[in-house]
């Protein structure tokens, strides 16, 4: 599953029991792809000694979606497997 700029996505809600780079505060929340950054090693695989390149995206979230308030946005870089269709 790959995504395109402008697409709505949701950060996966799960809490993996291994190293990951998906911050807790975005888990389960919906945002929008603002850039496709590149294919980079997925940290979750790297920590197990496996190099697995995966597309990483910049995903923008509204503060009100994340925290229930605030008029700012937060853009977070997330690997493809951290995302699902919104």
């Amino acid at each position: 599953m790959s995504y395109v700029v402008g697409q709505r996505v949701r950060a996966r809600a799960g809490d993996p029991d291994h190293h990951t780079r998906i911050p807790r505060y975005v888990r389960g929340h919906a945002g929008q792809i603002v850039a496709r950054l590149g294919d980079w090693p997925l940290p979750d695989a790297s920590v197990a000694g496996v190099t697995k390149a995966e597309t990483c995206y910049a995903v923008r979230f509204a503060a009100v979606e994340l925290f229930g308030g605030g008029d700012h946005t937060v853009t977070v870089d997330l690997w493809e497997s951290y995302l699902e269709r919104a």
């Binding site: 980079w40 990483c56 008029d71 700012h72 946005t73 937060v74 977070v76 870089d77 690997w79």
Partner: protein, 202 residues
């Protein structure tokens, strides 16, 4: 460490994190993954040419040359390479530069650790690595800015960038008014590290 070695004046080596770093270094060395000399050499290389003067020069050049501004915003790593930053191997990371405008203010944070373009901004300040800055910037950036003495007009939107991946972010500050007659060198002298992180205006 004996009692006499304790620095009660709040020195860096007294911090719990310093002990953790040392333990990690010892584990790396014990496991044969790196030697003390290799770690020292890596840190020396990392910090040799790292300075906020580099980022400041990029910002000032972007203010004075439209073509460079375009490159900086579309391919930050290429813009850094054009000034020779990062040496022959380049920066070693993808630099993404986000531009402040009269309507939008950008702030950089790394909530998971303290990622940051060291080669262009110099060693990261203690506050950048603090739990308070990392947790509060995504949640209440306007309040954090106020504590840095920055009061943005209410209608200026704030965009926070959380550096969770291989990309490193830098802010292109708004060129101050009244600087129309200044050249790039003089302008670079106005740009601060905080300005390039987004916790100060220039």
């Amino acid at each position: 460490m004996s009692e006499h070695d304790h620095d009660h004046g709040g020195g860096h080596h007294d911090l719990p994190v310093a002990a953790r770093v040392r333990q990690l270094e010892e584990r790396l060395i014990a496991a044969g993954l790196a030697s003390d000399e290799e770690i020292d050499a890596f840190l020396t290389r990392l910090y040799a040419d790292a300075s906020p003067v580099n980022g400041a020069r990029m910002a000032a050049r972007a203010w004075t040359r439209p073509g460079y501004r375009e490159l900086l915003l579309s391919d930050g790593s290429a813009a850094a390479a054009e000034l020779g930053f990062g040496g022959s191997g380049g920066l070693g990371y993808q630099l993404r530069v986000v531009e402040n405008t009269p309507e939008l203010h950008n702030m950089i944070v790394c909530t998971l650790c303290s990622c940051y373009p060291v080669s262009l901004l110099g060693p990261s300040p203690g506050w950048y690595k603090s739990f308070a800055y990392r947790s509060r910037t995504v949640r209440e950036p306007r309040a954090v800015l106020a504590e840095f003495g920055v009061a943005l007009p209410e209608d200026v939107k704030i965009s926070v960038w959380d550096s969770t991946s291989e990309a490193r972010y830098m802010v292109l500050p708004l060129r101050p008014s009244g600087t129309e007659g200044m050249g790039a060198d003089e302008l670079a002298g106005l740009v601060t590290r905080k300005g390039l992180i987004g916790t100060a205006l220039v």
